[in-house]
């Protein structure tokens, strides 16, 4: 088991190294920060000074190595768009906001998706099932930025119930969390439904019914406990997707999380912050996948003993 985990960690670190190379190259190939950050009428002296200050005059491989050595020590440089701010520190400062929003979105996803998936399976072919399927289809079809804007107009502008954007209260998190969660509710509900359908056909479920166990206990205790393995393993991916998939929604709602930072840094050609935020996202994904692998070890004896 330890060998399995060690291999998973090593492959994750290798993936992280590849990601740093890709991020570094893409961010440098996409344009010169001089032209994004200096005014149109910048003098050659200003340009030269800027290039010297940010080491842009050195060969690309040298810039990468410097970046890598510093990055290992957590130093991604200082932000260009937010002068004086440490790039990784700035990203990490925004992480609680993303975790707060992502946490609420995950909560919404689980609270809605599991009962919905179970109900759809138990009442297969009924209006309940059709309704759940339609709900899932909608969630997976709607672009989340569009959904985000529609939610703002309905609940903030027309009904006046919730603030349009920004932070400051629990109310500010509701709409963006729903906008993020709906897609995941759909995925999780469909997974739960299919897993439940399989389990509900199993012999031990039939035996439980024959023994006179109440239908509530059959569904929610015996069936769901076994069917939950599939959505549970998906949960790690879901958590990572929600945390990293909030980029657009955070921008729409002006929510000051990592996603918002990513977009603003890309717009401003803020290389240090772009690199920091993408590496941070990569680490989140890596950890999520590791957690999923650990869950496999726990729930699947073949992995544990193999």
């Amino acid at each position: 088991m330890f060998r399995y985990l060690a291999l998973r960690i090593a492959s994750s670190l290798f993936a992280l190294l590849v990601i740093t190379i890709i991020v570094f190259l893409l961010s440098h190939l996409s344009g010169n920060p001089v032209d994004a950050l200096l005014p149109d009428d910048a003098s050659q002296e200003q340009v030269d000074s800027f290039i010297r200050e940010w080491g842009l005059d050195k060969p690309l491989w040298q810039q990468y190595l410097t970046f890598l050595v510093n990055a290992v020590q957590g130093d991604f440089g200082t932000s260009l768009k937010w002068p004086g701010e440490d790039a990784m520190g700035f990203v990490i400062d925004r992480m609680p906001a993303t975790l707060q929003l992502g946490g609420l979105a995950i909560l919404i996803s689980v609270v809605i998706a599991l009962p919905l998936g179970v109900a759809a399976a138990v009442y297969k072919g009924s209006p309940v099932d059709n309704g759940a399927q339609m709900f899932a289809l909608l969630g997976q079809s709607m672009p989340n930025f569009w959904l985000g804007i529609i939610l703002i107009w309905v609940f903030s502008v027309w009904l006046g119930w919730l603030p349009t954007s920004g932070t400051g209260s629990f109310a500010h998190a509701i709409l963006p969390a729903i906008a993020i969660a709906w897609f995941q509710v759909s995925a999780l509900a469909r997974l739960t439904r299919s897993a439940m359908l399989e389990v509900l056909d199993a012999e031990y479920i039939k035996l439980a019914r024959v023994k006179g166990v109440s239908e509530f206990q059959v569904v929610w205790k015996h069936a769901l406990r076994n069917a939950a393995v599939v959505p549970l393993t998906y949960f790690g991916i879901l958590a990572a997707s929600i945390l990293t998939g909030s980029v657009v929604i955070e921008t729409v709602y002006s929510w000051p999380g990592m996603g918002w930072v990513a977009i603003e840094a890309i717009r401003g050609r803020d290389f240090p912050v772009v690199q920091a935020v993408i590496v941070a996202y990569a680490v989140i994904y890596m950890i999520s996948n590791l957690v999923v692998d650990l869950l496999y070890v726990i729930v699947d004896p073949r992995v544990r003993h193999g």
């Binding site: 920060p33 009428d41 910048a42 009904l159 954007s165 920004g166 400051g168 729409v252 000051p256």
Partner: protein, 542 residues
Amino acid sequence: MICNKIQYLNAPKRMLAAALLAGTILGGGGIASSAAAQEKVVIAVSPLGADSNLYWTTTGAFILPSMQTLVGNDPATGKYDSSGLAESWEHNEDFTSWTFRLHPEAMFNDDWGPVTSADVVHSFNMHTGEDAKLSGIKLLKTATITAVDDHTVRFDLPSPVPNFLFSHAGRGSLVIYSKAQFDAEGIEGYQNAPAGSGPFKYEGREVGQSISFSSIEDHWTGVAPEFDEIEFRWVSEPSTRFAMLSAGEAHAVTLPRDLQDDASDAGQTVLTSSEGAMQTTMLFTGQFMKPEAEETRDARTYAWADQRVREAANRALDRDAILEVLYGEGVRALPVYTMDPRFPGYSADLSDRFESDYGYDPEKAKALLAEAGYPDKFDNAKIPLVVTSLAGNPEFAQMAELVQAYFDVVGIQTEMREQDWATGNTAIRGFTADFITPMRNAPVRPSALGVQIFFTTHASPHLDVGDPEVNDLGGKLVDETDPATRNAILSQMFTRIFDTYAHLPMATVPASVVVNSDLVDGWDFPGATSSGLSHFHLIDLK
């Protein structure tokens, strides 16, 4: 009584009431921060390119309303006035020495004392340091500053700068910080809460989110905003800004043109600056008028190196229709990019000739193209049009698309090249640009400065069109100090640019902001700053 009423509600109504109650509770935060409270004005705008309290480390897109420059702008005319820190100014005969006398009663906020020459000298040194990224700072870096007395400062320049006031007004190349605060708190003091001398006091910043100010009672200028606080919120998504306005969370927002129409239809009010805030054009790139270009590079193979093609391109455009789509109200025709009636060199003759020489005439455009042998005699007949976006100029992509449509009608071949603004600048700066790109001049620079930046080698080499005649005139302009002669030189430059069809001028455009009609009565601002917005103390609430 209320309980009794609820008892009699039927089930659906009870649910609705509960939902409304829940909404009210949940929305507490939103409602509490709503702009409906008249004591706090909220303005939502696009995030800044650089977000810092150290003005010189930004490109100068936004001067904090707590800070002041030496020279002010009249809200109605945009003309320089004494509403800044200087009560008067004068220059020597050849414009190489400018002396400013400070208002003796000018005071910094937060009890940092009077504004003196020492503060101006200190601010000048901060602004001209290594970390300065300000637009226009190149000029100040060539200057030396002397504190003549406590309330008089003199700038000495190596060459004549008749437009020196521009750097000290809304454009803001020099914002005055308190030396006393720096001596006491260091740069951290500025980073945390810079003390200014404006009619607002800096209250705080949520990095990337918002910045807040409170109004100052009994301000030394006598200015008295009719609200207690003003908050600027940086909101990237225009639809969200529009929603903030509609929900009453913001008093004023900046919106792209299409959403301005929607806002107007919804009963909100679009306010425009009293004067043009920006000029727009489509620029041919590549030093296409340089005679030796053929030897050094293949600029001559650009289709627009042929004047007939350039004239045809201009004749192909129905500017009235284009500008109606792009800008709507308040927009003015622009005969030559960077020429403006407010500044020297303005030629009424060119304005008069604009319709006859540049008017929409597709048949003439076709004839000119045929005469030039277009496209068969051109190696690169296809003209790349840049589709790009620039903060504050969301119409640029649409401008390129409209130009393409009109070019297509007369047979000018095009290809759309999607690229971000920085990539285009990289190409222009590296002399590898081979496209037609939208460009803006904001705020409208004095003609003498603008024409040098965008057409000659004398201010910003990367936008030189390569014309020896325009460059010669630009060279003469650099040294000329006589106002009448300068006026004549500028006029000749504009005439040359006009006659050679060296660009595709579009419009002089006012700055615009959409205000909530229920909350705001009016707001006079001249469009003299980079963002177009200023004079926040003049926001007139209902």
